[in-house]
């Protein structure tokens, strides 16, 4: 039966009949998919709700969803009860400097692996892939001793400097992307007298913007939420990042000021959520790149 030869009205009727038949299935799908999504979002809503309650209302059982009255002052207290502005500033500083180093070094290395031919390249790349499997905890102690000898403990340097030497995962992702760019562009530029750094700067990097976006997103979120490293290296409160600052608040207050704690947690998570919604296509792209093994 050729669908095109049917009169419009019949097609419409047929489609209505089909969608009516599928209606129960669609309804079940909607309940599962949307219901699950609501369930997944509940913790965030609960965090926001708790962060706006009074101390008395936080400890009402069974809990109430709507804060009454709405205490926006909680956020002001979260900002001032600890030097939260310093935690924010430190986190921004570390995240930006580490991400910058990561982007520059990883892209340089990825360009070398993807676009240039040299002896030992393929062996070295396999070594790089092997380090992806290397668990970070083994190097925790030697790194600490190393930075301690350098006098860098209780500074931000151990959180920043190692990232200026590239990250294996990000090099891998960028290399995968750079491999897909046609070599003809390079050849044309070479005829015009471009050096290798020109190829990197003026051809590879402008074209690699989507992949650089992926790496930037990964890098920013991981540095923003990093906990183990600042926990080990930072001991002065004025150097704390948000992660260790929150932890300090938890140890000092326990659950007593949980509404303030939730306000602080909301402040800490919000930038990540905003970044995620702004750059979500990069995150999805990242998974696609990882699949290109």
């Amino acid at each position: 039966m050729n669908l095109l030869s049917l009169p419009r009205a019949r097609i419409a009727r047929w489609e209505v009949a089909r969608s009516l038949r599928d209606l129960p299935l669609t309804a079940i799908w909607a309940i599962l998919a949307y219901g699950g999504a609501i369930l997944f979002m509940t913790p965030f809503v609960w965090m926001l709700s708790s962060s706006l309650k009074t101390q008395a209302q936080v400890f009402v059982f069974p809990p109430e969803w709507l804060p009454n009255p709405i205490q926006i002052e909680n956020y002001w207290r979260a900002w001032t009860i600890q030097p939260t502005h310093l935690f924010f500033w430190n986190t921004i500083k570390v995240t930006l400097l580490a991400t910058l180093g990561d982007l520059i070094s990883s892209s340089l290395v990825a360009f070398g692996f993807a676009r240039l031919r040299f002896r030992g390249r393929d062996v070295l790349f396999i070594v790089l892939l092997a380090t992806l499997m290397l668990p970070a905890h083994v190097t925790l102690i030697p790194h600490f001793i190393f930075f301690w000898v350098l006098g860098w403990v209780n500074t931000h340097l151990p959180l920043i400097v190692p990232h200026w030497f590239g990250s294996a995962l990000h090099i891998f992702l960028l290399r995968q992307f750079l491999m897909t760019i046609s070599v003809e562009l390079d050849d044309a530029a070479k005829i015009d007298g471009a050096g290798f750094f020109d190829l990197y700067r003026y051809i590879a990097m402008p074209l690699a913007k989507p992949a650089l976006g992926v790496v930037a997103m990964y890098s920013i979120t991981s540095h923003w939420t990093e906990f183990t490293q600042p926990l080990i290296y930072l001991s002065s409160k004025h150097l704390f990042t948000l992660a260790v600052g929150l932890r300090a608040f938890q140890t000092e207050q326990g659950f007593d000021l949980v509404h303030i704690m939730m306000a602080m947690a909301t402040l800490a998570v919000l930038p990540v959520i905003v970044l995620f919604f702004v750059g979500q296509r990069f995150f999805v792209q990242g998974i696609v790149l990882q699949g290109m093994r």
Binding site: V269, V272, F283
Partner: protein, 309 residues
């Protein structure tokens, strides 16, 4: 100044440039990974006093002997293994279920994918504290929800039996990572296979078992490797939520390494425990890779087999 360089043949210049481009990683690899691994290995044979590094004493295999006799190492190992392996069936089942649910063009499906993935990105202390509050046995949201269903919830993080399952439950919130990997895999399954199967009279379940599962087994494999390696190193939630308690019910290997090295300053012993964990992860990874030949289906394989056979 660069005159000598300009006179080199092109391939030589490319070779020099190539090495220069990868130099940052090469230096980082040598210092922060290779050298660090060697130092960690060396340290594990010493009794290290961090206040007087020069007075560290060589003790041979002492640390490793102590480690085998240390009950806490065995407890930590058991907890870590239960956590790492125990959560994977749930991650795979739930991730796959959500991926299948969202692998169709329906109203709002793109927004739904984003929402399911969001918790996988928002990790860290803030979210750990949020879960601490949700799982609070007296005022928490979870027990309130259970009470509505007439169930008296356990004391979660404060109960010896429930503390480790609580950590697994929390980790399931990040299942969006696995979901995205499976979605990418599902997109690669050719539709013709389903059409052919439908003509042969295969129902949805049969199609799922005979087509979908084998076709996305590489994606499952990838998420399994990443998931197990990652969860062997679980630290943050165990540290923030339970500090390894109650009664060491959530003591994990990395938490134990942290305790030994950075709270008790037994760097040598900590390094020994770290090395043992490293070898275990390595062995486990190799085991999964060996087993993959049996249950992971790669399209390339068939072509290869066809050519040789």
């Amino acid at each position: 100044m660069l005159g000598w360089y300009r006179h080199l043949p092109y391939s030589r210049r490319e070779e020099i440039a190539g090495f220069l481009f990868i130099t940052p990683w090469l230096i980082g690899f040598l210092i922060f990974q290779l050298e660090a691994m060697a130092i960690a290995f060396g340290l594990s044979f010493f009794k290290v006093d961090p206040l007087a590094l020069a007075e560290s004493r060589f003790v041979g295999l002492q640390n490793y002997q102590d480690l085998l006799a240390d009950d806490l190492v065995w407890i930590a190992l058991k907890n870590t293994a239960i956590y790492a392996i125990g959560r994977m069936p749930f991650v795979i089942a739930l991730g796959l279920a959500i991926a299948l649910l969202l692998n169709r063009e329906r109203f709002g499906v793109r927004a739904l994918r984003t929402l399911y993935y969001l918790p996988a990105v928002t990790t860290g202390v803030a979210v750990a504290l949020l879960w601490h509050w949700i799982l609070n046995p007296d005022y928490g949201l979870l027990n309130a929800g259970l009470a509505m269903l007439g169930i008296r919830g356990p004391r979660w993080l404060y109960s010896e039996e429930w503390a480790l399952p609580s950590l697994m439950l929390i980790s399931l919130w990040g299942v969006g990572q696995a979901m995205l990997i499976y979605l990418a895999g599902l997109r690669g399954v050719p539709q013709e296979l389903y059409e052919a199967a439908a003509i042969d009279g295969a129902g949805p379940l049969r199609q799922f078992i005979a087509i979908t599962l084998p076709m996305i087994s590489p994606a499952i494999f990838y998420s399994l490797v990443v998931g197990i390696i990652g969860s062997f190193q679980v630290f943050l939630n165990a540290y923030i939520l339970t500090a390894g308690g109650p009664n060491n019910a959530t003591l994990t290997m990395v938490l134990y390494i942290y305790r030994k090295a950075f709270q008790e300053f037994h760097f040598g012993y900590g390094a020994a425990v770290a090395w043992v964990l490293f070898m275990l992860i390595l062995a486990f990874t190799l085991l999964i890779f060996r087993s993959s030949a049996v249950w992971v289906y790669y399209e390339g394989e068939l072509r290869k087999a066809g050519r040789t056979g």
